[in-house]
Each structure stands twice: as structure tokens, then as C-alpha cells.
Symmetry: C2
Subunit: 331 residues, 2 copies
């Protein structure tokens, strides 16, 4: 195997309870870039506060992290032994009902936005709705605007028809930053072969998830099983279209998963992928607890037969190529 330190490592979805400890683990795990969620249900003004909080961390830990704005920042991160942090939303709530906030947020460095999160949004349908009428009128306009400025459409939590329509409508490749194939583990959050096929045929990217509810056998999923699933994806989608989006929620209290699921849209409890007797964050697989463990996946992928180039692609180079094409204005 070639020297793996020459490979970029990118995780295209995390929402940890951010701390110096987590940032140090990113660096120790040689993560060059992490796409972090800065909004689940927040409105515009609340997200600005979240960005301010990130700015506090950028100012406090400049030797560990800095804000990523374009793909060259990933390369700069590796050269300076730091981690570039890219902002994303799991819900379009921050743009409220104002299409012009797309550009405002792009200027503030936001690079991914899900068109819906589990529920119906102003733009698209979420994966837990009973009906999926597809991309809305505003959704079509917002996709065009996201394409124009370079904000990536992410359909990780969206429903099937909306996802297929988004892939079709978007002039630029889209991403599903964190999900697995439904054929491997049937779950409303995982994606059908139709979606995976349409995604890869249009140059899009899938980030495979390590969130236990997305795994076959949950936390008991073996590394070999997980890596075999990736190898089959590489076969199905092509080696260039698969990366990692771990959905790592390190050190988060259970109140946070409740906020993710419930936001302010219901006064009752919604358990999402969990259940009344398993309401909190699920335990993680023994071989993946966080940023220190990407090496396990790297080794596991080699073991199931992926080539060095394919492994490097999944661990980061594929996302880097996607970043190269996705974050600037559409010329």
C-alpha cells in the first residue's frame, strides 16, 4: 500500500459537541476537512449566532482548525496540519422564506444545504412524511440559486421522489452527505438503488454513514460488513462517487438528538429512527468512535479488496474532487 499520509481525509458530516478535545482528535486522526452541521431547525438569526460561536473557536484554536471556503483550503489544511471546517445546514430553515439568503449564507461560508429534514419543508419533502409531492415551486427556484452561487444541494434526509427530482432539476451534481443503501439496511433514511444510480450518473456523491441506525445490525455491525457494503457501492456507483459522511455526534447529550428530531415542530416527542425504549443516541460500533478511527476504515477497505486508489478516493479524494467543482459560482 502507498503511504497513506499522502491521502486527503475528509468527513462530509459531523455534529459533535465541539470542544478542544474533538478538534485535537480531528488533527490526530489527520482529518483535512470536516463538513459540520450548523443548523437543524434554526432560523436565520439563530444560525448567525451559531456562526459567531464557530468564529469564537476559529479564533481560540487557530493551530487546530480554520474555516474552509473552497477546495484549496483542504490542501492548505494538510500543508499546515490543521482541519478545514466547512459549514452546512440539515434543513433549509435558515433561509426562512427568502431566496436571497442563499447568497448571504454562501458568502458566510455555508457550502451544503439539505432541502428538507425528515419533514416537509418549503422546498422538498422529508423521508418521514407519508406523502412526497416532490420539489415545490420555491424549491425549484432555490435549487437554481444554489447552483448559481455554489451551495451544494444535500438530500440526505429527504424523501424518494423529492430526491430524484432534485437530482434531475439541479444543473450541478448534488450530494447525499450521510446515508447508506436501503438494500443493505432498510431504513427510511437510507437510499434506494434508483436514487444511488441517478446520483452517480449525474456526478453526485454519497457519503456513507456510521450512525448506528443506518447500519446493518446497528452498533453490532462489523467493520468487514461495513467495508463490504462500501465495496459493493463502489461497484454499483463507480469508485469516484463514494465518500464518508460519518454523521458522528461525539460527546452529545441525548437532549441534542431530541432537538434534531423534534425541533419546534411538535409539542410531543418524535423518536425518529429511535423508539421510546431507545430514545437517546445509540451506542457506536466498537471500531468507530470518532476522528481517531478513520484508519480502521482505511485498513478495512483494503482488506475487502479495494485498490489503493479506490481507498484514497473513499477516504477523501472523491470529496475533494467534488469540492473542486462545487463551491464556486456556476460559470
Amino acid at each position: 500500500m502507498s503511504d497513506s499520509t499522502n491521502r486527503h481525509r475528509i468527513d462530509c458530516l459531523q455534529y459533535a459537541n465541539w470542544s478542544e478535545k474533538v478538534f485535537r482528535q480531528m488533527r490526530e486522526g489527520r482529518m483535512d476537512a470536516v463538513h459540520v452541521t450548523i443548523a437543524y431547525h434554526e432560523n436565520f438569526r439563530e444560525v448567525v449566532h451559531n456562526i459567531e460561536t464557530w468564529n469564537t473557536w476559529f479564533e481560540r484554536y487557530p493551530e487546530l482548525i480554520f474555516q474552509g471556503r473552497n477546495s484549496d483550503d483542504v490542501r492548505r489544511a494538510r500543508e499546515t496540519r490543521r482541519t478545514a471546517i466547512f459549514f452546512g445546514f440539515q434543513n433549509p430553515s435558515p433561509i426562512e422564506d427568502d431566496i436571497r439568503l442563499v447568497e448571504i449564507f454562501h458568502t458566510l461560508g455555508v457550502r451544503f444545504m439539505q432541502l428538507s429534514y425528515n419533514n416537509q419543508s418549503l422546498l422538498a419533502t422529508g423521508c418521514y412524511e407519508a406523502e412526497d409531492p416532490g420539489i415545490t415551486r420555491m424549491g425549484k427556484e432555490v435549487i437554481k440559486e444554489m447552483n448559481r452561487v455554489g451551495l451544494v444541494v444535500d438530500m440526505s434526509h429527504s424523501a424518494e421522489r423529492s430526491t430524484l427530482e432534485a437530482i434531475e432539476l439541479s444543473e450541478r451534481p448534488i450530494a447525499i452527505t450521510h446515508a447508506n443503501p436501503a438494500a443493505w439496511h432498510p431504513a427510511l433514511r437510507n437510499k434506494s438503488d434508483d436514487v444511488l444510480c441517478a446520483l452517480s450518473q449525474t456526478g453526485g456523491m454519497l457519503g456513507v454513514s456510521l450512525y448506528p441506525h443506518h447500519l446493518q445490525d446497528g452498533a453490532a455491525c462489523t467493520l468487514e460488513n461495513f467495508c463490504t457494503m462500501i465495496a459493493e457501492l463502489v461497484e454499483k456507483m463507480g469508485a469516484a462517487h463514494v465518500g464518508i459522511g460519518s454523521d458522528l455526534c461525539q460527546d452529545q447529550p441525548d437532549s441534542v438528538v431530541e432537538w434534531m428530531r423534534v425541533g419546534r415542530w411538535t409539542k410531543d416527542i418524535d423518536y425518529g429512527e429511535g423508539s421510546a425504549d431507545n430514545a437517546g443516541f445509540p451506542p457506536m460500533p466498537s471500531w468507530f468512535h470518532g476522528n481517531l478511527h478513520f484508519g480502521n476504515i482505511e485498513a478495512g477497505l483494503s482488506k475487502v479488496g479495494l485498490s489503493d486508489t479506490e481507498v484514497a478516493g473513499v477516504l477523501g479524494e472523491n470529496w475533494l474532487n467534488f469540492f473542486d467543482r462545487s463551491f464556486g459560482p456556476n460559470d
Copy 2:
């Protein structure tokens, strides 16, 4: 005289009723950069709307204007025969009581902020207050933050003591983007010799104003008188520290000058520099109605004896040098 088309032209303060007509006149007048006011009394959310409105214009008139973020954008504007638009606030109201909004706005492209506008603010005292207790506790913190990110302190509408303290406290040169010497025309908005001296000794810039209330004889001020005032300033402050900040309010209805003066801070009328029988915008001098007329000032400055280099400095090169040093992070 050398070919004046080799000189950069910068106007460091305008608040026109923006339109394609005005943008075309900027180009016809060969303006490479204009610092435009995007807030008088607006709060954070309202200013975001104002930026959205500017984004609409940038999208609609890309052959005439684009957003300026750094000094090289001024050079790019000349090369591409367009005008770079730099954002500024005449009041710190957009940062509300939140110092972290300084960085948010810098990221959104804001490059100048007045610490006060006529009245007391959270940061400093305005020129119409009876008492001037100087820079406030928050003001000192905000000046440090503005220095850090590269947002220029502007004291055009501030009171004497606050202005002298801001010059002293700021680690980086500050600007008075639009005002004239009080010795030439006594007005609360014009600046004392003490201020002008402290400003130039610390590398700061004065933009001379063409707003009639700042001119000797008002709209009847002659071009020769105005240019002689500039020549004396060049003598007093040094040729590198004088530029233009016209305070042009082209095509604005009188309701706008009322908003500038009254905002939402009083239920009564405040006439500012005007009066009950002269409440609206005053008429402009015959030789300066807008962006087409900077050539008059250029010719007038040569006529009163300024060298080609000095004229080029006042018309734009001095601001360009100041931009070079001011808009990036403080290393």
C-alpha cells in the same frame, strides 16, 4: 499633465438613490470604486435586507458594478471598466449590542463603520450631542475587533473627544470618509485642526465632502474655493492623507434626509444641518452634481497648483493605498 486615465478614481462616500442611471454615470465618470452607505439606523436584520438589495443590483448590472472586498478589486474594476462597490455603515446600529457581528459583517464585505452618527451610540458620541464622554467600554472592544478583522473605523459624524480617542485607541489608521475642515467652514460636522493633525499623523485619511452644508457658502461655493481648501489641507496634512468622500445623495427624495436625521430615535423632527425652512436636501454646487463631475475637481486642483501626483492622490490613489493597508486581517 500626464494622461489622467491612468489614475484611479475613488469616491469614499455616496448614498445615491441607486439605479442603472447612477451606475452608468459612475462608469462614464470613470469611478473605479465607490464606498456606499448601506446603513444609517438599520438593525442587523434590516441591513441583511439592504445587502440582498445590493446583490440584486450586482446580479442585474454585472457589466457596470460588482462588490469590492479588497484593494485589488479597485484595480480589477479599472481593468474591466466597471465600478467596485464597497459597503459601509454610518452608524454601528447594525452590530446591535453584539461584538461578534463585526466579523460577520466583515465577511459580508462591510469595510467601513462609523462609531456614531450625530447622537450617542453604544460606542462613541455623535457630533450633535451636548456632552462627549469619549469612547465607551464597548467602543474600546469594538475598535480592537475592527482592527483585527480589517473593518475601518470612520468618525465622520462623531464628536471631537470621541474622534481623538478613536484615533489614539485604534492600532490601525482610521478614516473620516466625508467631512471638511471646520477652520474653512465652521459646522459641527466639520473637523478641527487638532483632529486633522492627529488623523494624518497616524496614517489616517480625510475624504473631503461636497455636501453643501459642509461647504463655505453652501451651494454657492466656487470650485476654486473648494480646490484651494484641498490645497491647504494637502499642505497641512500631507499629500497622502487627503481624498474625496463626496457625500453625494443623488436623486434621493427629501424623505431620505429625514430618515438619516431622525431614524427612529425621536418622534419629533430634527433638522440636523438643515432648518425648518430648509428641511430637505440642499441644492448642489453648479460644478458638482454627481459622478460625471469628478473631472471638474481634477482640473480645479491642477489650476490651484497641485502637482500631477498630488491630484492623482486626492482623486483616488490615496484611498487606494489606504485600502491596501486596511481591509485584511491585522497580522
